[in-house]
């Protein structure tokens, strides 16, 4: 009973907080259409493009005995790529030379090489450990 009341209270609190957000947005009539487009666009981009693509890559590449490490490498590499997209792709002039001061394409490739190297080492280490454990035939 107490749990049920707590759930109801939490649900009501959630609705109230959403109400705060909605009213803040409604106060900005001039921005509203743009915000709705970007909210909807984010969902469409994820659900219709990114997620199917990730599932497809998983279907094709993540299989066999090393599926764990391969999936791990793709996941870490993908996350690094997602976070690097703005610094890699930002068009237009910078506000000054201290904004985006690094060689991002190089750094991004470096992180991917590091992920690949680490994954290979991990697989080799596992393989070595497994073959040692196996009794000599």
């Amino acid at each position: 009973m107490r749990v049920k009341v707590l759930r109801l209270l939490a649900g009501a609190a959630g609705l109230a907080l959403m109400g705060v957000g909605a009213s803040l947005l409604l106060d900005r009539q001039q921005d509203l259409m743009g915000v709705l487009e970007w909210l909807g666009g984010a969902v469409v981009l994820h659900d219709a493009l990114l997620a199917p693509l990730v599932l497809l890559v998983g279907l094709v590449l993540v299989r066999g005995g090393v599926r764990g490490p391969i999936r791990g490498a793709l996941l870490v590499g993908g996350a690094l790529t997602a976070v690097a997209l703005p610094v890699l792709l930002r068009p237009g002039p910078r506000a000054n030379s201290t904004v985006l001061p690094l060689d991002y394409p190089r750094n991004w490739l470096l992180t991917l090489v590091a992920v690949a190297t680490f994954t290979v080492l991990l697989v080799v280490a596992k393989e070595v450990r497994r073959s040692r454990r196996r009794p000599p035939s």
Binding site: R28, V43, G78, V83
Partner: protein, 378 residues
């Protein structure tokens, strides 16, 4: 609508409630931290009237910590959100799409949650790179959608509470009813998600957590890149001030006993040295060594009341944040300086030559540069 290809069938494993719960609680924590630190930042930059005079000036590293955490938790949430959405993706194609009014409302609330979550992380990340491809104003909209997101999240947790409880631990009833052979695969997936969070954190967090600055590969700022070893947001050229002539510079202090100082007179006043960070709302921060005149000394001479608020007016002619205000806590803090020197050298034009404000626990945009006037407010 139903056909051979629709709704799609998902034969892959781990699209289950245990995986969703395991990733979801870390994602929930990241969003909670991100929301709270975001609120702190919002109130420090745009304090409502009742709070404006009472903002604390300590701890010295306060804003640096909360804003660094805001950006770091947002970046950490990116792999968590994508992994969570991957886990629950098959539910998008539930059949029938709507079973009841309650079910319809629940799906709408999840749609709001997903949209707001993707929106907040995407706009926040783009903002750190100063990339604004959207037609709306970032600060207000990012703030408003944050409330939408946290509300939808609380509602989602309330709706899913029984399922979350049933899959909370490895030995919970719901977890035990899932195929046992998935457990090692799930552990491997969760380890990969954790590794992804670690990887994106370690390659970006050095922009504010300077011990890791050498690993800063993908952050939009590097603590060492900038004049006098400090990054810059608005340059003197962008602010329309150019190089201010030292002979012509005047600092005006208005108050009960107003007065004006030349640059030489300012330099002749007792100088104090402080170690304070510049912490930008976009996430980067760095500590620096500042030398200058205590604001409290200038205020005393002007006969300012102890609880007076102070307005700091810049000589800049372009751009926002030309004027900043501070409450008595900041104005009276002995660490709050009108700085003339940075890391042992005279301020460079881009850091606010000849005089800039530097105060503890204060957002970077309010550390007004090229200060021309201090006004004691009643």
């Amino acid at each position: 609508m139903r056909s051979r290809f629709f709704p799609p069938v998902f034969k892959g494993r781990l699209h289950d409630a245990r995986t969703a719960t395991s990733i979801g609680r870390w994602l929930g924590l990241a969003f909670a931290v991100c929301f709270c630190t975001g609120l702190i930042s919002h109130f420090m930059q745009h304090p409502p009237g009742w709070l404006a005079g009472e903002l604390p000036s300590r701890p010295v590293w306060g804003y640096r910590f909360t804003q660094g955490l805001h950006v770091a938790s947002g970046i950490a949430a990116i792999p968590l959100l994508l992994a969570k959405l991957w886990t629950v993706y098959p539910r998008l194609f539930e059949w029938p799409p709507v079973r009841s009014v309650r079910h319809a409302l629940e799906r709408v609330s999840v749609a709001v949650l997903v949209a707001a979550a993707l929106f907040e992380l995407a706009t926040g990340l783009l903002n750190t790179a100063q990339w604004y491809p959207w037609p709306f104003s970032f600060v207000e909209v990012h703030y408003a959608v944050a409330w939408l997101l946290i509300g939808a999240l609380v509602l989602h947790i309330a709706v899913k509470a029984p399922e979350i409880a049933a899959h909370w631990s490895r030995r919970s009833a719901g977890t035990l009813s899932l195929p046992a052979e998935d457990a090692p695969d799930r552990r491997s997936l969760l380890a990969a998600v954790a590794a992804a969070v670690g990887a994106v954190t370690i390659t970006t967090v050095g922009q504010s957590f300077t011990p890791l600055k050498d690993l800063t590969l993908l952050a939009p700022r590097h603590p060492d890149h900038g004049p006098e070893g400090l990054p810059v947001n608005r340059t003197a050229a962008a602010a329309g001030v150019g190089l201010i002539h030292p002979e012509r510079y005047r600092l005006t202090i208005s108050g009960p006993r107003p007065y004006t100082l030349t640059l030489d007179e300012l330099r002749a006043l007792p100088q104090h040295e402080v170690e304070l960070p510049i912490a930008c709302v976009e996430g980067w921060s760095k500590s620096a060594h500042w030398t200058g005149v205590r604001v409290v000394d200038l205020l005393e001479r002007a006969g300012a009341p102890v609880h007076a608020r102070v307005r700091v007016v810049s000589l800049q002619t372009r751009g926002g944040y030309r004027v900043s205000e501070m409450g008595h806590e900041h104005a009276r803090d002995p660490l709050t300086l009108l700085a003339l020197r940075l890391n042992g050298e005279e301020l460079s034009p881009d850091h606010g030559y000849p005089v800039r404000l530097i105060a503890p626990n204060r957002p970077g945009v309010l550390q007004t540069k090229w200060v021309g006037r201090l006004e004691v407010l009643s």
